[in-house]
Assembly symmetry: C2
């Protein structure tokens, strides 16, 4: 199989499309971020890579932020928060976001987004063009109507998947397999599994 | 809209299913990781959160690793590498992985995976249950047959999406919208866009 190198080295799939919330100069603001990932379990941790935008300023002012997981129903608002600066627009008003706050009090969260993570900054790493924020997830919220039998139901959450390079938002597709299950079919080659 | 808190605080969508490659005690090994995200653009950076598995040991031995993006065609192998320890099995042999190496020489990559990132460790952060590896992406490779007109084609790459909590692997679904485009429809409320 022939391999070629690509210019865009940050080519991974899938990428998320999160709305990062912060209070900047006393006013709530949200920006879209695809460069984010879970960083630990106990305590729960998440990373977000940010350039020197207003959101980064706000995060440093309060050392808190939120990660909001939008659904495909919020794709227009999600895109808007990635192309418009909070210095030129009141994104909360333009997107008709209803906000709520949790125990940290300075991490604004979006009611319409099915899942919301309320985070406290524990590390800020200068990695070049971006600063890598490492946040401890203090609380995670889900919209009650996205539960089935009391558990998060991804078919109700309907998350957005950001496809880099082609710059498309896509929905979740069909179930391919069950994790911690299908791999066992390879255990014939390894009786220790 | 009513919100409830959830016990599993690391609840984000989508999550990837990457195969992390490293040489451990002189032998290539791969493990599955969903806790990973892009961390910077210039230079290109990526994070991977790892517990004290063999892979972490190998990454520290050579300070290099790879991130392999599997396709749905490799879902069985991807799951296998997440449930079996390299101390008990030769995962490369069991999965029939063909390997290749790039300029770093100690970051084994999987030919069958459509996209491969070759990384050098620049930071290791102790975040509790996990160590957060921050790697600089030195080179990114793509299988030639996953290109269309010389560009990465996600419909040929067919990445796996890991759905946490329900523990399912899913495929990419339909295109919902174009990024940097659909959000402009909200600009009626904001003439500066």
């Amino acid at each position: 199989m022939a391999k070629v190198t690509v210019e865009n080295k940050t080519l991974v799939y899938p990428m998320p499309a999160f709305l990062i919330g912060a209070i900047v100069d006393g006013r709530p603001n949200f920006m879209t971020a695809a460069w984010s990932g879970i960083a630990g379990g106990t305590p729960p941790m998440i990373t977000v890579a940010l350039q020197h935008h207003r959101s980064l300023k706000g995060i440093k002012q309060n050392m808190t932020f939120s990660v909001n997981v939008p659904s495909v129903d919020q794709v227009k608002e999600t895109d808007y928060c990635g192309i418009v600066s909070g210095s030129k627009a009141d994104k909360v008003a333009d997107c008709h976001f209803k906000m709520f706050y949790g125990k940290l009090e300075t991490a604004p969260m979006i009611e319409q987004c099915p899942v919301n993570l309320e985070c406290k900054v524990v590390h800020i790493l200068d990695v070049g063009s971006h600063e890598l924020i490492v946040g401890r997830i203090e609380e995670t919220y889900i919209s009650e109507d996205c539960l089935t039998d009391g558990k998060p139901d991804v078919n109700k959450i309907k998350p957005i998947i950001y496809v880099t390079q082609s710059s498309r938002y896509r929905a979740l597709g069909e179930v391919v397999a069950s994790a911690y299950t299908i791999g066992r079919e390879l255990s014939g080659t390894n009786p220790t599994v």
